[in-house]
Structure formats: structure tokens, C-alpha cells
Amino acid sequence: MKYIEEFRRHDLAQHLAAAIEKEVKPDRGYHLMEFCGGHTHAIFRYGVQDLMPPNVSFVHGPGCPVCVLPIGRIDNGIQLALEQEVILCTYGDLLRVPASGRKSLLKVKAEGADVRMVYSTQDALRIARENPEREVVFFAIGFETTTPPTAVAIKQAHAEGLKNFSVFCNHVLTPAAIQNILESPEVREMGSVSIDGFFGPSHVSSIIGSQPYEFFAEEFQRPVVIAGFEPLDVMQSALMLVRQLNEGRHEVENEYTRVVSREGNRKAQALVAEVMELRRSFEWRGLGLVPYSALQIKKTYARFDAEKRFQVPAIQASDVKGCECPRILRGVKKPTDCKLFGTVCTPENPMGSCMVSSEGACAAYWSYGRFRH
């Protein structure tokens, strides 16, 4: 398939590996955080770590929307389905995430709640049109990549005058999270996490562009390379980060130029800005409350906001005892440091969100078996 297979070529991977080997300085470490679960997945699936010199290491970041959604928000979704008896539509990724009381959206569906998996916001709109007598709520999650389709759906529902459709908005923002990690005590003072540079998001950046990262590359003096999700993209970006670090530079560079520009997708940005606005604060699993890190639906579209339309109380729910997801999401611990990993917590029976989502660090470690060496 074009634009996929040529970015996975074995001969070019060997070539890039040799180039990285040649450029790294033996007397220092290169700790590179990949923010996105998509990068974590590519690194593990294709064995990119094994092609790196020993002093180049990957630190896994929190860039998995399913992983960072706090349990209380999933409890809210379950309440909407069970108590308000709405048709709750959501992406498949969210269905198996453990909620309070050993529940999940999939389990309450099995018990009779009307939870439906959709591929697209267009499917959720169709379900609303087909069920005019029922309330249909779209449980929206995702980073900037996934937000514009939600904004389009709200605008479309408004234009069509759909009266039974609303959105439970949990869209979160990438730059705020990266900044939060760089400001965390573990990175700033304790020095327990070293992060020398960042792989910038691929598809988030296709929407927001490379410009939003310029502030913290400068402020925190860390290089950022926007990297595609294919293995050769990750390797080329690692090479670019190594070069920047060797030369003492901390710039935003773009490896994924076939899709990402500096300004991003202006049309998508304008649609999101018309329908949504910043929340003052939002809770992330692992990071806690992060200021201005999420979006809510604007007042002008309030009738499509499930949080205005129904009772959606703030729920404080605690993580499963012993689950290290919060520290794993901050890059402080590795999945193999968690006592539950591979014992009671596996992809078949996940206890924590990082094992549920295929993009989570725990699922990547487990599925590709690389922790076994």
C-alpha cells in the first residue's frame, strides 16, 4: 500500500540504524520521549529499540487518550447509559476500560444498557436520526486528531435540527500535557526521569501544525521532531534528535512533512474553534488536574452538550490498587516495574488503562513480548 510499505523497508532501516550508530556520542545518553501511543506501538511492533545503540532509549509518554481518561468520566458514561437510559455511542477503544466497581461499558452493555460501538461520528448521527424517540449521546474522546470530526457532527446536528443528539466531550490537548510533563517535579527537580528530546505527534500535528511546539522547545530547551508513525519515520526522527542534541540545538523540526505543515489544517482548526472552547482545568489519569488541557462545548451549542443536558456529576474514583498506570503515563516507571503486569493484568483481562488500549505502553510490552529478553 502506497505511503505505508515504503516507510517500513528493511534495507532502509538497516541504513538508518548505521547512520544513528555513527552519530551518537558514546559518553552520553539520549533519552527520547515519544509522546504518542502510536509511536510506542511502532517502536515495539517493529523492534526499533533493538536497532538503536545502547545509549539511545525511548521513554513512553501519556499520548493515549483512552489511557489518560480518568475512571470517573467512564463512570459518568455508564450512568448516562444505565440511569438516563440513553443510547451511548463511542469508539471501540473505550468499551473495555475498567470503571469503578469492576464495571466497564462492555459489561453494562451485556447487562442490557444500550451502548453502541461506532467507527465515526457520522454513525452516531445516523443512530440519532433512526431513533428520534431516544436520547443519543456520543461519548467523545481523543486528542486534536479526533476532535474535528466531533465538531463536524455537532455542526451537522445543529444544521439538521436533530433534537435527540448530544456529545459528552472529553477531548484533550497535547501541548498542555507535554508542558505538564516537563514541569513535573520528577523531570525538573528530582531528576528521576531524564527527557532529552521529544518525538512530536504525527496526526495531532496534521491538525495543529508544528507551530504550537515552538514555545516549549524554546522554554524548556528540548528539541522536538514531529515524526510519522511508520518505523522508518521514527528512526529518521531519532537521527534528527541525536543530531540536534549533539549540536546543542533545541528546535522544532518536522520529519513528517508529507502530512504536517507549520500552520496545520486551518479549516479543521476553525471548525473546532467555532464549536468548542478551553476548559479551565481537566483531570488526566497520571497527570492529575492540568490547566487548560481540554475542550468543552461552547454555550451557543449548549443543547448538544450532554453535560448540560443531563446530570453529569464530578466523580472521584481511585485507580485499581497496585496499578502503576499513573507513573507509567508520566514515564517514571516501565510496565515491567508494575506488580500487576502480566500476572493479573493482561490484554485479555486488563486492570489498568495502559493494558486495555492497544496503544498503551503495557499492551505494547505484553503483545510484542520484548520484555521477555
Binding site: Y3, E6, G37, G63, Q122, H203, D233, Q236, R258
Partner: protein, 72 residues
Amino acid sequence: MCLALPAKVVAIDEQNDMATVALGEVRKDVSLALVDGVQLGDFLLIHVGYALNKVSPEEAERTLRLFAEAGL
């Protein structure tokens, strides 16, 4: 969650702002609400039923050349 795949435009439905894209043997109808100026034969980045962006053939070639030249 942010996974998206490049697929080729094989038909355009201007009235509904939709396109049919092909990814190998798979065909899928996607919304063009987020991109302008789409033409037959373009490659689009597809995510949750929407085209997010066009894929630039020139930039893709340039990146592949960078891989080949690395370290030379």
C-alpha cells in the same frame, strides 16, 4: 486512537461532501468536511471516517530520499 491511514480517492460525491477512498482492496466512504480542493487520485489521510489532510507525494519522495542518504 490517533491512527490514520493514507488512502487513494477513487470517487467524489460533491453534493454530500464525501469521497470513496481505496486502501488496497478495501473501499470506504469518507467525509471531506475537513479538507478543500480534493481531486481524483489524491491520497488522503483517513481517520474515523474523515479525511484529515492530503498526503504530499513530493514530500513523501523527499523523506524517502533522506532515509537513503542518511549517514552518507
